[in-house]
Symmetry: C2
Subunit: 425 residues, 2 copies
């Protein structure tokens, strides 16, 4: 098989299909989404059988249990894929929305219209639900999609792809609107990310290694999501109850998510008062505390039952633990806190706890991260919590899409002009 | 000189300065812009002397007259640079603007805040005014800038850079907010576009060769502007007077600009009626007409005095002439016109002339270009005509900035959350 020729064919077909999708009505796109959902439910036995074949192969290949876990599709998993499609059908269609129209002195009226990006390449690892999920988000936003899933999920992805294709055709849309790469050859990814004539943007969903490799080699823009080293900063004017609730929730509500807090900064003026209280809460959850010298001195003096104390090293300030561990640093003031965050953060999400208006607003403005919060848990940085209705990922880029990426993030805006025969003088 | 070390130093200094700029007040940034304008006026003799040295060198090197022309800075040119700075000072500050705040069921209020991109690298050719212009746009939008001008303008750029630096310092901003690359070594560009840790976006301003090279080699996002192969489509329901005025203005108001029309499409139903009239108007301006077989037959039969007729070749449909030449094609209908434009256009600007609402709205939605117009001259596709107040270029990209790029295009939006102690359940 000539992988390059194969990928170019997929690209050309996607580009052609993208023209039809861009012009498709909301009704047609929703009809396709609902037809795909119905077919997923109807084909549940086939999907589970395909998944069983993938799982058998994965176990034979000795895949680690966490990977096998991610690969597993349950009865409820199929139902939740179908529901996800129905939810996306229910969202407002972003395509064609006209905004910001203003009359200019020349007489023309200038505005913007939201339009699809064109062709989106999605590269992901084992989870089979991403196939249905990503297909639906691309379809609703009027984009053609080329999906490249992990080789471990090949049979299940093919079975899902069949449902998607049949749903598209039933609604009168081209089958090439969503294409699943039908080879496990790794060279396919290399070609997909270097076809700017056919692919407008790449969205990698997976581990850091995958994303770094794609970012390095792509000749097409990448909407990427790297680490989440999120900070909670307890300012000298913090309300102690809010600080306690926010630190606890940001760190302990879930350990493995990218919007979990990994670093805690506390102002020197309130450290002796507040740090022991915060540490007590975290220690009750079994969280290990890696502190700077100053915070360790305070915490050791406080003699907290069951506290796991450890000195922080320089590398701790940049770490995404994804585990019950938090780095703790006492800072001199707001300026020091902002400087620390802007130096060590991965630019994902940071929160200040403060009752002081000017301090809170300065933090909001001066911290250079995708989400910046006042008196709220970092765990809110999420497409559903933000009201996007769906999420294809969380971008740590600054260009194009920043933070949670929903349907709007898969579109751009073109300029439109309403004239009445005007010419330029 | 170790060029790589030098460029990394510039990058590190720019990154540091960008933090200060992002937090700078509107008053401080405007004070710097006005101080730079004053210094440019005060230093006019020094600027003109530096330019004279560049010109003498350029003539000695045998540069072509068009290049020497672009390199020349006149007395009025200095005044217009200073005025440009004052105009940018008068524009609203985009940084810190809060929009789209909505309350969520959790109680948090989620919105967006406009923020600088960080560090912008501008790579341009001979025109010395770009130095002041680009510095001002970056400064007002809160970004640090690294400017790399053509080696032909080195002395003049250095003289302008001195005014910029002194103006920044006078207003209390760091000198590294705007740095001019002080070497003519071409390797400097290669380093500038491959430093993602220090440079957030590259804006090349120059010829197609420069932009293509940078797009190919950059490891940093590029806001790029390639060709302008703009179309005017005269639909079967066009008003003949509007069609005539728009075709004439789009093609002949200026030949060398990227928003000039290079292709004319006419519906078959009205071609025999309208084409001769349009061709007469264009021929009166001396425009050469490169037609498809069908349009040539109509135009030859019309026997237009002084008409320069020539058969169009396949390559004409993609050509950016930047000259008194236009490609003409008779199309079957709206669908054929949209398909032709989406196939051959460079994605810059297209206009439909039609009195039919549905046809016009379909063209607006389905044509995949940065600017799409109804009944207006393509020449309006311009930052000033669109009301942006200033323009750093016109992007033919889809990601991030599309069409004319003003101050907003040099910023992005981060998510902000106003909470009151909320945690995620």
């Amino acid at each position: 098989m000539d992988i390059e020729a194969y990928m170019r064919t997929l690209g050309r077909q996607a580009r052609d299909a993208s023209r039809q999708l861009a012009a498709a009505s909301t009704e047609t796109k929703n009809a396709a989404l609902l037809a795909i959902a119905r077919r997923l439910r109807e084909q549940k036995p086939a999907l589970l059988a395909a998944n069983a074949a993938d799982l058998a192969q994965a176990r034979a290949d000795g895949l680690e249990p966490a990977m096998v876990d991610r690969l597993t599709l349950s009865d409820a998993g199929v139902e939740s894929m179908a529901e996800g499609l129905e939810q996306i059908a229910a969202l407002p269609d972003p395509v064609g929305e006209i905004t910001d129209v203003k009359r200019r002195p020349s007489g023309i009226q200038v505005g913007k219209m939201r339009v699809p990006l064109g062709v989106i390449g999605i590269i992901y690892e084992a989870r089979p639900n991403v196939t249905a999920d990503a297909a639906a988000l691309c379809l609703k936003s009027g984009n053609a999609a080329i999906l490249r899933g992990g080789k471990e999920a090949l049979h299940c992805n093919q079975a899902i792809a069949t449902c998607v294709r049949e749903g598209l055709l039933e609604a009168g849309l081209p089958a090439a609107a969503v294409q699943v790469v039908d080879t496990t050859d790794r060279a396919a990814v290399g070609h997909l990310i270097t076809l700017p004539e056919f692919v407008d943007v790449i969205v990698p969903r997976g581990g850091k290694g995958l994303i770094e490799r794609i970012s390095r080699e792509a000749r097409v823009p990448v909407i990427k999501h790297l680490d989440g080293n999120c900070h909670v900063y307890v300012h000298s004017a913090a309300d102690a109850d809010k600080a306690e609730a926010i630190v606890e929730n940001s760190k302990t509500q879930r350990y493995g998510t990218c919007n979990t807090a990994e670093s805690l900064l506390v102002d020197r003026a309130v450290a002796a008062d507040l740090l022991p209280r915060l540490a007590r809460k975290l220690s009750a959850h079994g969280v290990e505390l890696r502190g700077c010298a100053e915070s360790l001195a305070i915490l050791e003096a406080a003699n907290i039952a069951g506290a796991k104390l450890r000195p922080a090293e320089e590398s701790d300030w940049s770490e995404e633990y994804l585990a019950p561990i938090i780095a703790i640093k006492v800072v001199a003031d707001l300026d020091a806190a902002i400087a620390h965050v802007n130096r060590y953060s991965s630019g994902h999400t940071e929160s200040i706890v403060s009752e002081n208006y000017t301090a809170a607003m300065r933090f909001l403005r001066e911290v250079d991260s995708a989400s910046v919060m006042i008196n709220a848990s970092t765990r809110f940085a999420d497409g559903f919590e933000y009201g996007l209705g769906a999420e294809i990922g969380i971008s740590t880029d600054k260009i194009h899409a920043r933070g949670p990426v929903g349907l709007d993030g898969l579109t751009s805006q073109k300029w439109i002009v309403f004239g009445n025969g005007e010419v330029r003088g």
